[in-house]
Symmetry: C2
Subunit: 230 residues, 2 copies
Amino acid sequence: MYRMDGRNLKDLLYEQVSRVGKALASPKRLELLEMLAQGEKSVEAVAGAVAIDVKLASAHLKALKEARLVQSRRDGRRMLYRLSGHDVAQLGVTLRLVAEEHLLELRLALQRMMAEPDRLAQVGRKELLAQARRGEVVVIDVRPQDEYDNAHLPFARSMPLPELSHRLSELPRDAPIVAYCRGPFCVMSDEAVALLTKRGFRARKTFDGISEWRAAGLPVARARGREGVS
Amino acid sequence: MYRMDGRNLKDLLYEQVSRVGKALASPKRLELLEMLAQGEKSVEAVAGAVAIDVKLASAHLKALKEARLVQSRRDGRRMLYRLSGHDVAQLGVTLRLVAEEHLLELRLALQRMMAEPDRLAQVGRKELLAQARRGEVVVIDVRPQDEYDNAHLPFARSMPLPELSHRLSELPRDAPIVAYCRGPFCVMSDEAVALLTKRGFRARKTFDGISEWRAAGLPVARARGREGVS
DNA sequence: GGTACATTCTAACGATCTTGCGAATAACGA
DNA sequence: TCGTTATTCGCAAGATCGTTAGAATGTACC
């Protein structure tokens, strides 16, 4: 009787926690979460970014909403989704880290991605921040403008990938450039570095995105030009 | 073509990460992970603790192993399982925290669990550690002896729940007692506090287990009597 | 070698999840 | 009111997962 209560209670508790686990059990949903970590987005926007049907995206978003990982609100005829909190993005980061640490297959895939030229060269986060503050390095955010506005690394300049080739004159030829985008699985910064290197710039990338930066306890900036704590 | 490559690579990466997510999608597996976070255990031992059939436990452990969250080794005719690393326990803690933060149902269940008398009274971790060091409070670990030996809170005494009623004379009547067990969902410390309070001791509990303690960056002790960094 | 024990493998059933499709709903503008 | 657009709902087929029971494997002890 007493024993039963303990069992039932425990079952109930783990049942609830597993709801969050189930939400993380689908590749598409993980990708949707990463997109939403960049800021509030419409169903259509995330569906496009993840390259799935809008209806399917809606279904997955519903699942995420039922697990309380995302919230939605209406804006005119569109529905906007956002993460329920920064802790959700942090959970995503932790999940990726554990996967990278223990899944050999994932590490190999990442290494293949990193294997090209010298575009990687991981930089220490705090060191990067200090160098950027002193102007010794130019950090560029190659994500779309609205994601930059929502949150970006301190001292970073917005330089969306599609505009990059037209705006090369804004970048220094003497100082090193560090590009970043949405996170370790995002290839936009790779493309940016490839382009810049071909044009003779000293460019590297960091695998960090906003979520990784926040998870490390470092400050992020909001809106245009304003730097400081998030 | 190029775009296709980016898509395929991304799919591959998230596919891998979702393997870890899938492993976290079952209540039983989460409970197994928490048991293994207490130390290396045999299939039979965890099956008993989680109250499921040994065959089923074996199947779940296999799934966890395929997600690389646990490792196994043979010891005579038994198979011993352990977590692949502390980061796995940390992931479990983060998952629970997110679930508690956003799932109303879970919070209600936990509150029901906490609603009884005054047995709770959360204590700040570092404060608890300082008080324990100065001997102002007696911390007791009510888990089985082997789990205490594997890792325990600094300055904690082993006092397994089944033995508690026989060993009351070892506890002080003037100083407050803080009991802990496997984590927030474990009720052993609740039972200990209930027993101690009935016998006139000043007892509280902490919801922390070893994993929470480690995730907070605090040191844990190993083996009997030896205190210090893990 | 034979027996007992702990664990894993195989097969099977039902439950749940994914995905795709057509219809339904909600908001906006003419 | 009627389209248009954006999203969700309902439904169904196919895939995957959880659970159980019985057979098979590997190890230790006699």
